[in-house]
Chain length 454, copies 2
């Protein structure tokens, strides 16, 4: 049977069917640190919508599971392809089909990198706002599949706010178009939102009509504040900024362990022990006044504050935050978590992290998008396999986030890593409804099976 599938794929797709050991091996994993035990049947490098349709028709005919895949930068194991599966790569479909400055939209293929798209939009005075930390290496299609977020979300929205319409190939190879090109549109059910964040379980996104913004005029202003009192003081200070009615473009929090790891990696002077840092950026017409107001609030909250009105200096300050992932990798293997809580619960969530650290005898370097309450606690360990003790600590932390009115994942998705907690958050009734909706799209269960819904 597998050889029959391969033969049919090769017959129709020729050298776009890749069975080289290196490609098969790469398709087993994403950036979560998780990998399937065995390699997939093949990696198909789709070059067109028709290629995707051909793969899905063969998959439906033969009952073969398909794992859609962008650049493989996911952090939840959502794109990992294993034995008996076809890894369907959209990475080669990178065309920008249309840019409409008058309608503030672009139509793109799913494989284009987020950063490449924004480079192409800049000369038009436009940008696509979602800015995951992976933006230089992750695809727009992957951003859509995970419902990605980033640093700018509190002010400029997440992927779900930035997609108007999608072209989707269904499990049996049919192509549908969902959504609309107009700003408003309520014709029927909102399948566009349903596909966003569905992690390849409902269909294969082969095109996207993106809602663009105009580049924000003027320069941004950056405030860096060190809190010698530690992370709770920094979290309270960030909540005070939000409570004062100021909407920064970026508000990033790093705890002491994160800050130390990044400073060490970048060869900077070590920060004072126990100190946390808040990095805030304002933009738009009121940027300068807002920066001064933020600085005043952070000073009142006990921060040691530096304000920079120089964009280059601002970028240097933000570089410390953006270096978090590589810095953590220097400490060991990392399970990068992604809980999100209401903004007011950020200090309480840091208390919970401190409690879990104490109870399990571990250090959990944590950064947070403080402007929107999204935390990335990093569980660091030795070796390839997440030890049971780390899973127990993560479980404790997830339950704490849910108790505080939060959610399991703010922007990374469920994938393989969090599927066992999904029903805890959704409740059994909603979990079954969601699984039955998947059944409508994928009656054979061939679309990314085992992901999200275990």
């Amino acid at each position: 049977m597998p050889s029959d599938v391969l033969a049919r794929l090769t017959e129709q797709l020729g050298d776009r069917v890749d069975t080289s050991p290196a490609s098969l091996d790469a398709a087993r994993a994403d950036k979560s640190g998780f990998a399937a035990d065995t390699a997939p049947l093949a990696v198909v490098h789709a070059a067109s919508v028709a290629d995707v349709q051909a793969v899905m028709r063969i998959a439906t005919d033969t009952g073969t599971p398909v794992v859609p895949r962008g650049a493989g930068t996911g952090l939840a194991g959502g794109a990992n392809a294993g034995g008996g599966e076809i890894a369907l790569s959209l990475r080669g479909m990178t065309r920008i089909l249309e840019v409409r400055p008058d309608d503030l939209l672009a139509v793109v293929e799913p494989g284009i990198l987020n950063a490449d798209l924004n480079d192409a939009l800049a000369p038009h005075g436009l940008w696509w706002a979602p800015d995951p930390a992976s933006r230089a290496i992750s695809t727009v299609g992957g951003n859509i599949a995970t419902g990605a977020g980033g640093l700018l979300c509190a002010k400029y929205g997440v992927v779900r706010d930035a997609v108007l319409a999608l072209d989707v190939v269904l499990a049996d190879g049919r192509l549908i178009h969902v959504g609309h090109r107009s700003v408003k549109g309520v014709t029927g059910l909102d399948l566009t939102s349903l596909f966003i964040g569905s992690e390849g379980t409902l269909g294969v996104v082969v095109g996207a009509t993106l809602k663009l913004r105009r580049l924000v005029p003027g320069q941004s202003h950056t405030i860096a504040a060190v809190f010698p009192q530690g992370v709770r003081a920094a979290a309270e200070a960030s909540a005070a900024v939000t409570a004062a009615g100021i909407q920064p473009a970026i508000m990033e929090l790093m705890d002491a362990a994160s800050l130390a790891a990044v400073h060490a990696m970048l060869g900077l002077d070590a920060p004072s022990a126990g100190a946390a840092q808040l990095t805030v950026q304002t933009d738009g017409p009121a940027a300068a006044a807002e920066a001064d107001a933020v600085a005043e609030i952070l000073r009142s909250a006990g921060g040691e504050v530096a304000v920079s009105h120089d964009p280059a200096e601002g970028e240097r300050l933000l570089r410390i935050r953006r270096s978090m992932h590589p810095a953590i990798e220097t400490l060991g293997t990392a399970l990068i978590e992604d809980v999100s809580v209401p903004r007011s619960a950020l200090p309480a969530m840091f208390d919970e992290i401190a409690r879990v650290e104490r109870e399990y005898g571990i250090v959990i370097p944590t950064v947070a998008h403080a402007g929107d309450g999204n935390l990335h606690p990093n569980f660091v360990f030795e070796g390839d396999e997440v030890p049971d003790r780390i899973w127990a600590a993560a479980d404790d932390l997830f339950r704490a986030a849910l108790r505080l009115g939060g959610t399991l994942t703010g922007e990374h998705g469920i994938g393989l890593l969090k599927r066992r907690w999904l029903a805890d958050e959704l409740g059994d009734d909603q979990w079954r409804l969601q699984r039955d909706i998947k059944g409508v799209f994928d009656p054979q269960g061939i679309l990314n099976p085992g992901k999200v819904f275990a």
Copy 2:
């Protein structure tokens, strides 16, 4: 059987079951001008989530259709209840359960009026952005069920951008909670967006966690521009404003027939024949400069422009636009349409309206939310029944909107009125998928049957 249903409802819900002729008659209609031929079994005035659950359990046990209903201000016949059906009114559930300025959210019951909610939020310095023209008389739950829009949408978003989570009673009476209180959240499929705009076909919304904004500081500035050349020139001018990168809070367009009707009703001097009007409002930190820039663009486009920096004068200018619905009612019975097109297609859509007017020998007074490309052409006729000739003209106009990359409905919904065009826009494959999703939520077909999916 109907008497059995009534007996069971009365047994459990007592005097919240209303069978007075006036109530039954009122429940047959909404503001679309359409009414069911016969009256429903009963109107149940739910006072609690438990009431809604009791109704749905009885409905499921007896196979009785249920039509959820807010204030009955819909324009698509989505809340009309007829023979053998239970009209389930949420209008009495008006409590605000929580307001959190720090988290920019409120938890409310569905029956509260949009304007009442905003009156209650204002002392906190907050507002809920969706502002349908009906906001003084329509409920938040109804706004959610239709995916309502309004005047401010291009800058401040529609309902779908302003809801974090929902409490929903399912067809069989179970209660689920979908969504999250945090800014970000991608746990599982986005059922919150699926319920928004689902027009009572998937479940009954009994609670909503709303995403709030801070009141915009400073005063608004208003620009009124008369275009003697007519509506196409006004449409092109509005497109020029958007193309210049300015985002007004409001940009409303009225054609000559609309303007004349409103002036007559308000007892103002008649506008010059054939003249159209554009009313633009800017707000926020750059409001004054943006108002001047808008005025310059409109002047260059041939408009006779007046700028007001006085909010009271601005409100007076906008009153002309807000008086459109009552003014049209003075002309006859109106079929109020709601197509939406990409902003750049607004002039072409007005050409199509002019063509339909010529070909069918009718006048179609039209207003448009020009900032987002949403048009409300009004088909005016005598009597209660839409004449076939008017339907033929509307059909022609819908197809023109779809050809221009637009959609059947920007903010009113499908309801009864547009269900026969739904598959034309969605395509048969997507139409069937949507209907099958409804089947997951409502296997017996008792939730607002005959609406949206005919």
